[in-house]
């Protein structure tokens, strides 16, 4: 049993208290530890990806207890893929937070950042629904702290809404877990996958309720309409680096939907038949349309980016809701694109804030470091709106292609293409007002201060990654395709989790464990 797989959770979990206790008053030491931790996470992510790339499923049994009874951490290609994506995004976001000085505007930024990473990594790696809930809470409680970092009345009020909405979501999650446990008697995902198949067709009421409740919980996380209300305010009011890191949080919801609804409640399962096509797909299409209309209607740049996140999550969910290997392939490609593009756009919106009073879409004097900022916005907006030649276009093409053979092809194509047009108009309007009309405004006496070089390196890094994601679209889709195929053949996952021996598993270990138990009594 390799111990590497639990390190993405344990490493931030140790770094965070270390930062609080040992480096509390020294921002530079905190920065060094944080950056070193993230570099280690990226190396870990690459190493684990290499290990699982041939389809092996990594399993870690905590305390060596066998699967349905003990807690397990499972890393298959999908989990590790998301872990690596998180580490890369977080690295650039952290560089930006350091470069722009955001981390020094309040207490404990770096410690909360590490706790947030611990929660996200844990949510991706856990093999147990109750631990998914626990890691959701870990990432949420860290995000509450990050969300109100640096204070301010407007931010605090947005924080209250965010926390309350997520508390309701957590309550719903517990109701879902309770009903699943009452129906099946287990919360281990691999074990559930087998037991749900055994439920008699005439007694599926409980499990159907549980499946819908669970879908609603994940839809809250993924900001799917009509459960998206928490997102625009909190993302727009959160400090920019935090909002950029939150770009991965909506993907945690998408990941959970992919995982649970291919493994436990697969599309062909009779009990939950129609949940995917009848409910998820229309909600996804509405989110896509509403998000992009919000882009057009937004009055300030940060809200515009927040709505574009809703729109791109809608796009991801359209691809997921198809529940075919092609759909999931496209969805995973688009998840990477959407995370990078949303992260870059939030950072750019903070760059624009240099020298402007606010981010309202009105003509104001040119911002500091205008040319570079404008160039980055141009590239990121093209990517987010899905114009050729960048990755948004490739991802959209994959989704349209995956939807071509389905009965809902007309709806999907109409909404995807129509909303793309709307978002192009929205981004073009925002860009021209902020970057072009500013030249008609009388220049101030003193030139505005340009953002620091490190801020540009961080933002530029994300933009370069977007370009790389386009250039290497071929290898990336081949890899996401292999992930998608293995998701629809969960045999390897289930057998690895359930058949790996440990304490309490059937066989000779069993007797030894009991014998030891008796002696103690």
């Amino acid at each position: 049993m390799s111990h590497w797989i639990i390190l993405p959770i344990v490493l931030p979990a140790f770094l965070a208290p270390f930062i609080v206790l040992a480096a509390r008053f020294h921002v530079s030491i905190q920065r060094a530890i944080s950056v070193a931790g993230l570099l280690a996470l990226i190396v870990l992510g690459i190493g684990l990806s290499w290990q699982v790339s041939d389809g092996t499923v990594l399993l870690y049994q905590l305390g060596d207890w066998a699967a349905p009874f003990g807690i397990v951490v499972v890393g298959d290609r999908l989990s590790i893929f998301m872990v690596l994506l998180t580490a890369v995004l977080a690295f650039f976001v952290l560089l930006y937070a350091i470069g722009s000085g955001w981390d020094a505007r309040g207490w404990h930024f770096h410690a909360l950042f590490q706790f947030q990473l611990m929660g996200i990594m844990g949510a991706f790696l856990t093999g147990d629904l109750f631990n998914l809930f626990v890691f959701f809470e870990v990432l949420l409680i860290a995000s509450y702290g990050l969300m109100i970092h640096a204070g301010g009345t407007v931010r605090l009020r947005a924080g209250v809404q965010y926390v309350l909405f997520n508390l309701l979501g957590s309550t719903l999650f517990l109701f879902a877990l309770g009903s699943i446990y009452a129906e099946t008697g287990t919360l281990n995902m691999a074990d559930l996958a087998q037991r749900v198949q055994l439920i008699d067709a005439s007694e599926t009421v409980g499990i159907r309720v549980a499946a819908v409740l669970l879908l609603m919980v994940f839809a809250i996380k993924a900001a799917l309409v009509p459960l998206h209300f928490w997102l625009p305010s909190s993302y727009a009011e959160a400090p920019a680096p935090v909002a950029a890191l939150f770009a991965i949080m909506t993907k945690v919801g998408a990941y959970a939907i992919i995982r649970v609804y291919t493994l436990i409640f697969p599309p062909e399962l009779e009990a939950t038949l129609g949940l995917h096509g009848t409910w998820l797909l229309p909600a996804a299409l509405v989110s896509l349309a509403l998000g992009m209309v919000g882009v057009l209607a937004a009055k300030s740049l940060d809200r515009l980016v927040a709505f574009s996140v809703i729109g791109s999550m809608g796009m991801v969910m359209v691809a997921i809701a198809l529940f075919t290997p092609e759909g999931i392939t496209a969805a995973l490609y688009y998840i990477v694109h959407s995370t990078l593009a949303a992260g870059a756009l939030f950072l750019i919106s903070d760059l624009v804030r240099h020298g402007r009073q606010n981010l309202a879409l009105t003509a104001q004097a040119p911002v500091g470091g205008m040319a570079m900022t404008a160039a980055f916005f141009f590239v990121a907006a093209i990517a987010m709106a899905g114009l050729p030649p960048l990755s948004g276009f490739v991802g959209k093409l994959l989704i349209l292609d995956a939807a071509f053979d389905t009965p809902q092809v007309v709806w999907i194509w109409a909404v995807v293409l129509g909303s793309s047009l709307v978002s192009v108009v929205g981004f073009a309007r925002a860009g021209s007002v902020i970057f072009w009309k500013s030249h008609s405004v009388k220049v101030q006496d003193h030139a505005p201060i340009a953002p620091s070089a490190l801020s540009y390196v961080a933002t530029g890094g994300l933009v370069v990654l977007l370009v790389a994601h386009t250039v290497f679209a071929g290898p990336v889709t081949r890899y996401t395709n292999s992930i998608a195929t293995s998701l629809f053949e969960p045999g390897a996952y289930v057998s690895t989790v359930l058949d790996t021996p440990g304490k309490l598993s059937e066989g000779k270990d069993d007797d030894a464990a009991y014998a030891q138990d008796d002696e103690e009594h």
Partner: protein, 115 residues
């Protein structure tokens, strides 16, 4: 006992939801606390209701209480308690700063305060 437990969960959920919809921070927080109480009882009941049965395997005992939901409830109680404390602090900060305890955004949002 089934009726008592079921009605307790139902009444607490209904009261909690009603309070959450009041959209002022104090009732909303009380409402969320009620909802978490309801969900804790619900989790407890998900292991089936047993009376006076031990949760530990013994040789001469035939009826057991399911120990797992008890562990789950313990985790849920700790988490919800911590979360409630956090939301009280943030709500207090927002109330003292903004002089209003309405949870909704105002009709005309104040721009540019958040830098």
């Amino acid at each position: 006992m089934e009726f008592l437990v079921a009605s307790a969960i139902g009444i607490m959920t209904a009261a909690g939801l009603y309070l959450v919809l009041r959209l002022r921070t104090f009732p909303v927080i009380i409402g969320i606390s009620l909802l978490t109480y309801a969900v804790n009882v619900f989790l407890f009941a998900s292991g089936r209701l047993t009376f006076g049965a031990p949760p530990i395997l013994r040789d001469d005992v035939l009826a057991y209480a399911d120990p797992l939901p008890q562990a789950l409830v313990l985790t849920a109680i700790v988490i919800s308690f911590g979360m409630t404390a956090v939301v009280v602090m943030i709500a207090l900060g927002a109330f003292l700063g903004g002089d209003t305890d309405v949870v909704d955004d105002p009709a005309d949002p104040v721009e540019g305060d958040a830098s």
